[in-house]
């Protein structure tokens, strides 16, 4: 995806930009991610360190953590998600406006981690599509910043304008072999517009 290049020959002194709408939209989105910190256990402490002055997530434009999902577009699931908490987690995801992205921070939220247990969700992709998985127990703040940079690379490749004109595409598709949701290319528009929602377990029932 092209970057924003100023055109030298300017009609006025102020100059102007020529770019593709996709590039402009993606540039704005990737540099102003607003994280929803869902700190569930020790990963939450590393998350705080990441937002603090030493690691300074503001360098990547994603420091505006808000504690209401209505104002966020990046859900960071930081820690061990229990089945008791799963409904709350999915509700937070549902309440976030599109487009939205998810980072599974740490092995617990990626796969259940060491908690091979009756109480723990074996990866948050059983509930929602995940964009970036971060290994570590807990991961260092650097690793999560790396995940945010990777997510920014991913956002650069999205096609928001094209998908506005096309039929909405579901971004979360249940994959039986994976045993969880797989993140389809995020088209940057609401996927629930059609009102249809494929059941996570419809395959089993059929």
């Amino acid at each position: 995806m092209g970057s924003l290049k100023p055109v030298e020959a300017s009609a006025t002194d102020g100059g102007f930009f020529a770019t593709r709408a996709d590039a402009l939209v993606n540039w704005g989105r990737k540099n102003s991610l607003w994280p929803m910190p869902l700190g569930l256990s020790c990963c939450g402490i590393e998350l705080m360190a990441m937002l603090g002055p030493k690691f300074d997530l503001a360098r990547f434009g994603a420091e505006a953590a808000r504690f209401t999902p209505r104002q966020c577009d990046l859900l960071i699931v930081a820690g061990t998600l229990t089945w008791k908490m799963a409904e709350a987690c999915r509700t937070i995801y549902d309440q976030m406006p599109d487009p939205k992205w998810v980072i599974a921070m740490g092995v617990c939220s990626s796969s259940g981690g060491m908690y091979d247990s009756y109480a723990v969700v074996q990866g948050v992709d059983m509930l929602m599509p995940v964009d970036v998985y971060v290994p570590g127990c807990p991961p260092r703040p650097d690793a999560v910043i790396d995940a945010i940079i990777k997510l920014q690379r991913k956002i650069e490749r999205e096609r928001p304008v094209k998908s506005l004109l096309a039929e909405p595409v579901r971004d979360d598709v249940w994959d039986e072999g994976h045993g969880g949701f797989l993140r389809q290319p995020n088209m940057g528009v609401s996927t629930h517009r059609s009102g249809e929602y494929v059941a996570a377990d419809e395959g089993e029932e059929a």
Binding site: W83, K84, A86, E87, R90, D94, D116, S117, Y118, A119, V121, M126, L127, H192, G195, E196, Y197, A199, A200, D201
Partner: protein
Amino acid sequence: MSGLGRLEGAFGGVEHVEVAAADGMPCVEVERDDLIALMTLLRDELGFEACTIVTAVDHFPREPRFQVVHQLLSLRHNDRVRVHCRVSEDDARVPSVTGLWPGAAYFEREAYDMFGLRFDGHADLKRLLMPEGYGHHPLRKDFPHQGIEPDRLYKEWDRARRHAAGSQG
């Protein structure tokens, strides 16, 4: 300190069996019907002001299956005592000690949640850790450690949520 020490001979008319605990803590076993009488005596006569834990041990497949354990602490005498009480699976009921130590309410809720023991006289006996309506008791020995349908309640909730979202169009 050997055995029950200062507790020796102080149990009045309450039937009990002295148990030699591996960790040396004074330890008695009583019948379920005598539990409250013994606990009242321990609190009022022997100065055990605090009930530090109420839990259980599952001896599956032996019968009686459950061993309810109360541990008491006396700050005044720097003394502890443990009280055992065996109950079978068919009649897994124990009198609640919340009338004596209100703080035991949470321990009893946890023991109810994890072992399925009913504490008679508990004002609000509901699950503490597992979701309400889970239907199984995870610390029982016959409970698989990966659980029995751990995602059932979530899936029910998810199905209702999807149904509501679909009907909105």
